[in-house]
């Protein structure tokens, strides 16, 4: 049994929109995750480096 083309086109449009929503959901999900420790450590290392280069002077 073959579906009418119009119905198929609508299904395709629907899937296209679903892909857009899912892309947004992935992006939002990651953006809502807590910042991993690696990243915090990295930022702290930058600090440490600054302190070193300043010769510990404050």
């Amino acid at each position: 049994m073959k579906k009418p083309d119009r119905e198929r086109a609508r299904a395709i449009k629907g899937r296209q929109r679903a892909i857009g929503r899912e892309l947004r959901r992935v992006y939002d999900n990651v953006a809502q995750e807590p910042i991993p420790q690696d990243f915090l450590d990295l930022l702290r290392e930058m600090d440490a480096q600054e302190t070193e280069s300043e010769g510990g002077d404050s």
Binding site: I12, Q16, A18, L23, N29, M46
Partner: protein, 225 residues
């Protein structure tokens, strides 16, 4: 570790560091911290893989820190960071999804071939479709469609004209349609997100997101069905 190695190459700050420079740096760093979640999200959308995405985001942070004096305070730091991330992504081809731009033939031989290291392993339908877009179309779609950037900001990030971004987004959408048209596994129902399709997306979320985020997403999602 590459990131550590890179960090070690940061040239020492000027020894005549003024108080205001130190204050600027502290401010810059706290701004960076705030934007990390978005950097990670953009990187993940580009790479489709958590590990490479987080590496990319970390390298971006290091580069941004090294180049912080070139950032004009008061301008869009998020766009500036995204530009760095994007340039890094492209200069580093090992991270690319697939080299070949989307074409009609590719649409017919997509399944799974995008590689285990990418989206394809994690997200079936979306990944397969996105992996068929050209890099330029995909990033335009991500920035405008998921990142919420204006066409103007996206154009700035991609270093191209506003009209170019608009046409890339339009072509990306058209390409998706063409890809889906060439796909024999279209769901029979007209409703794209219902029943099995909804369960499939929830299952994908579970694989992709940590439990807490997946749970929150599930609640949001259930509210809409």
């Amino acid at each position: 570790m590459t990131v550590r190695a890179m960090a070690a190459e940061v040239p020492p700050a000027s020894s005549v560091t003024s108080r205001s420079k130190a204050a600027d740096d502290a401010q810059f760093k706290s701004d960076l911290l705030e934007l990390i979640p978005f950097l990670r999200a953009f990187a993940r959308s580009l790479c489709g893989n958590q590990e490479t995405a987080d590496d990319l985001a970390q390298e971006t942070l290091v580069k941004a820190w090294q180049a912080r004096d070139m950032f004009a305070p008061g301008t869009n730091l998020k766009a500036w960071l995204f530009t760095i991330l994007r340039n890094q992504f492209y200069s580093d081809r090992r991270r690319a999804w697939r080299q070949a731009p989307w074409d009609q033939e590719a649409a017919e031989r997509i399944p799974g071939s995008a590689g285990e290291q990418s989206w394809a392993a994690e997200l079936s339908d979306t990944a397969r479709a996105l992996s068929c877009l050209s890099d330029e179309q995909r990033e335009a779609l991500i920035l405008v469609g998921a990142g919420g950037f204006s066409y103007e900001d996206a154009a700035h990030i991609c270093n191209c004209a506003v009209g170019t971004v608009k046409s890339r987004v339009a072509r990306a959408r058209k390409s998706l349609i063409a890809i889906l048209e060439g796909d024999e596994t279209l769901p029979p129902a007209v409703q794209p997100v219902a029943g099995d399709a909804a369960n499939e997306i929830l299952a994908q979320l579970d694989r992709l997101a940590p439990p807490a985020a997946a749970e929150a997403a599930r609640k949001r999602f259930k509210g809409t069905v």
